[in-house]
Structures are given as structure tokens and as C-alpha cells.
């Protein structure tokens, strides 16, 4: 009973989450990041020998590099505070997670501190990313084998 009461009380007292506002902010921030990425992709397509398909790799690398710089200068924090999921979900959020963990544990030394903790946050992204890619590839392979879709 006590627990239920507490939950009720907490619900009443805590400020309401402005869902719509958060969603709009995330949409704008994420959209802006992707727009910048699109421009970088266009830059690689126009000035280098990349096609639409192959330009994605250097684009991703550039976006991660930019977000790492911004994290180091303390600017990505502000973007994340404004954009929420809009700044965390694109690939730039991944770069931010790696570098911010590295900065945080720098005082513990380079090997056990930075090296050991760098992928503390991003490690799960890599693990589940690789795993889900494996599952998707498995499903697609089966579908191609049975002739439902083509590569």
C-alpha cells in the first residue's frame, strides 16, 4: 500500500514531461544533423570518385569526426540538451558517447582509464548493432534462397 501511495504522490508532484516539445526538438535536431550529412555526401559525390552508394562510408566517418571535435570542445552537450534523442540517435551520438567516456576517465590513466572505459557506452551499440545486422543478414539470405526477394 505504501509503495502505491508513493508512486501516486510522485506522479502528482513531478513536472509533466513536455512530450510534444521534446518530439519537435528531436525532429529538428536530428533532421538538421542528417541535412548536414547529406551535404557532406553530396560533397564527396561531386568532388571525389564516390557514387551515392559508396559515399556513405566517408560521410559517416566525417560526421563522427565532427561530433568528436564538438564533444571535445563541449558543444555537443548543448546540442544534446536541446535535441535529446535527435542528437543521440544519428551516428554523431555514437561518436559523442565514445569521446565523452574517454574524456571522463582520462584521469585514471591511458590504458585502464581511457582504453578500458572508452566503449563503456558505445560497446552496447556495437554489440547489438553487429548482432542485429547478423540476424537481418540471416533473414535476407533465407529470403533470397527461397526466391522471395533478390539481392
Amino acid at each position: 500500500m505504501e509503495q502505491e501511495k508513493y508512486a501516486h504522490l510522485e506522479k502528482e508532484l513531478s513536472p509533466k514531461t513536455p512530450i510534444l516539445k521534446n518530439v519537435i526538438r528531436a525532429f529538428l535536431t536530428g533532421g538538421l544533423i542528417c541535412l548536414i550529412g547529406q551535404f557532406i555526401a553530396l560533397f564527396y559525390i561531386t568532388y571525389f570518385n564516390f557514387t551515392e552508394r559508396t559515399a556513405s562510408n566517408p560521410t559517416v566517418a566525417t560526421m563522427i569526426f565532427i561530433s568528436m571535435l564538438l564533444t571535445g570542445f563541449g558543444l555537443y552537450k548543448k546540442i544534446s540538451q536541446f535535441g535529446g534523442a535527435g542528437a543521440a540517435v544519428p551516428i554523431t551520438g555514437f561518436g559523442n558517447a565514445v569521446v565523452s567516456a574517454a574524456i571522463e576517465h582520462k584521469s585514471e590513466g591511458y590504458v585502464l582509464g581511457v582504453g578500458g572505459n572508452m566503449f563503456k557506452l558505445a560497446g552496447s551499440v556495437i554489440l547489438f548493432g553487429v548482432f542485429s545486422a547478423f540476424v537481418v543478414a540471416l533473414i535476407k539470405t533465407l529470403l533470397v534462397k527461397f526466391g522471395v526477394v533478390s539481392w
Binding site: 559525390i45 561531386t46 570518385n49 557514387t51 551515392e52 552508394r53 559508396t54 559515399a55 562510408n57
Partner: protein, 130 residues
């Protein structure tokens, strides 16, 4: 005043998407009427730039926004169709904007001596996987 500005921005954004056309550069003796017809009559294609040179036909297409998910399929279908119409030619059709861009650049430069070399280059870039 603010509303008027918004209206102009909206109009500007909307008109940005309406380019349509077909451009063909032919340095061979092949008849390109059929090619133009095929490219023009495809409902998914909004911009096509084609270059015929020696034994090569290279065409870069841009598909409508909502057909973009099937652009590979559309390009393949066009290629098959063109292969039936021009069985003597090596045909490359691609919905990749790089091919469109490079073909356009090549035609605008207009140096026929470079055509063969550049066409081979575009083809090799287009085939690259990663």
C-alpha cells in the same frame, strides 16, 4: 509580412522539385529517337542524360522522389528495354546521381577525344561496391 515570406519560401521549395527533361548527346550514327522516346515515356524518370559514343550508351537518370526506393529496379528495367532496342551497344543505365553528374559534365565539356576514357571510368566507379 512574415506570412508573405513563408509563402515565398514554400513556393521556392516546391518549385525546386519540378525539373524534367531528357538530354541526349549522340556522336554515333545510331538513331536516338527510340532512346528519347523510351526515356521520356517512363513515368518514374524525371531527368535523364544520355550519351552515345562509339559502342557505348551511358544514361544517368533521376527518378521521382517517391519512386526512389525502387530506383535500382527502374534502372534495370530501362536497361533491359534499351538492350532490346539497341542490341549492338554496350548499355549502362544508372539511377545513381554520380553517373548523372559525370555524364552531364562530360557533355558540357564537349571534348570528344575524352569521351571513351571517361565513359570507362564512370562505368568502373558505378560497379564499385564499397
Amino acid at each position: 509580412m512574415k506570412k508573405l515570406g513563408m509563402l515565398f519560401i514554400l513556393l521556392f521549395l516546391l518549385t525546386g522539385c519540378s525539373e524534367k527533361g531528357t538530354r541526349i548527346e549522340n556522336t554515333t550514327t545510331f538513331n536516338d529517337d527510340q532512346l528519347e522516346k523510351t526515356l521520356d515515356h517512363n513515368e518514374h524518370v524525371k531527368l535523364a542524360i544520355a550519351l552515345l559514343h562509339e559502342k557505348d550508351l551511358i544514361a544517368g537518370i533521376r527518378v521521382n522522389t517517391f519512386s526512389r526506393f525502387q530506383k535500382k529496379k527502374i534502372a534495370n528495367e530501362l536497361k533491359e528495354k534499351l538492350e532490346k532496342e539497341y542490341p549492338e551497344l554496350n548499355i549502362t543505365v544508372s539511377a545513381d546521381s554520380k553517373v548523372l553528374l559525370e555524364t552531364q559534365k562530360l557533355i558540357n565539356k564537349g571534348k570528344e577525344g575524352e569521351y571513351h576514357k571517361k565513359i570507362e571510368k564512370i562505368k568502373s566507379i558505378e560497379k564499385e561496391q564499397t
